[in-house]
Symmetry: C2
Subunit: 167 residues, 2 copies
């Protein structure tokens, strides 16, 4: 496998994987491209490399910036904007975990809390609803702590110790 093949394989794998962690194909591919690019790239570069339209590139770059994993750069004497990705995978994981917690997990925790606090009426179905949503609530809170405090934190020794422990 030569460079071109490997690059394309990586970009397309990352792209289809994207839909599995909640971002679309183009967004994930742009991210993949920037991640392995030693230089920052212009919007033209990205459009050309991935065969996508200007609008598509613009919208998805903006989203990647909202996620805090892609940054805009300005080169002196150049009018065009250039883009680069967070390159440290620990930092990347931390940022993604943080955003997913904020966007998905925390709203869910709130709803689980509301639902699990309806008043007990003595029926089986109400008991079961309360019991299960309480259990999910507790699990979601644990997961939330993990995502915000453990993933990609400087205290990465925890992960290492954990891996050694259970491997």
């Amino acid at each position: 496998m030569n460079y071109e093949e490997a690059k394309n394989k990586f970009i397309s794998t990352w792209g289809s994987l994207g839909s599995l962690w909640g971002i679309n194909k183009a967004m994930a591919q742009i991210h993949a491209l920037l991640l392995i690019s030693p230089e920052s790239l212009s919007m033209e570069d990205i459009m050309e490399e991935l065969h996508i339209s200007r609008g598509n590139a613009s919208m998805n770059l903006r989203q990647l910036m909202d996620w805090g994993i892609v940054f805009k750069e300005n080169k002196i004497g150049e009018r065009k904007e250039y883009f680069s990705s967070e390159k440290d995978v620990q930092e990347l994981a931390k940022q993604i975990a943080k955003e997913r917690s904020r966007r998905e997990l925390q709203p869910t925790i709130k709803i689980l809390n509301d639902v699990s606090n309806i008043s007990e009426d003595g029926t089986d179905k109400t008991k079961e609803l309360i019991k299960q949503t309480k259990a999910l609530h507790e699990m979601a809170e644990t997961l939330d702590i993990m995502m915000n405090k453990v993933v990609g934190q400087g205290n990465n020794w925890i992960t290492k110790a954990l891996v050694k422990l259970v491997k």
Copy 2:
């Protein structure tokens, strides 16, 4: 909020959440319904409760069974099949983590391994591709271990200790 409201809120929340962990709305809603139902339900029950077609119910129930989180039951003297969900949320998490590892993470690890092992040719772009895919490979392996060995395992004391440690 009364029982009906709470139930509907939970089902619809779980449903829209589903698309974020890679399963479709109907599938996630069926799962939510079974999770809070004290009795196992027939396909009719599910169709009626969620207003979905027979085909839809059939296909999604099958997928839930493939995921190992919904089971078929037969009541004696009844021809119909009944369905119930795994009720233990630890076990549920374990099963989901295991399946996601198998379906998504492991194939990705394989590709990251292939890509990161192309031959070094001295160029910056090749160096960067190798460096980044190696880093992602290592992280993916760690995540894989976590998902298979830590999540929902009997050794849940690990999680508890960890939460206490970082909270």
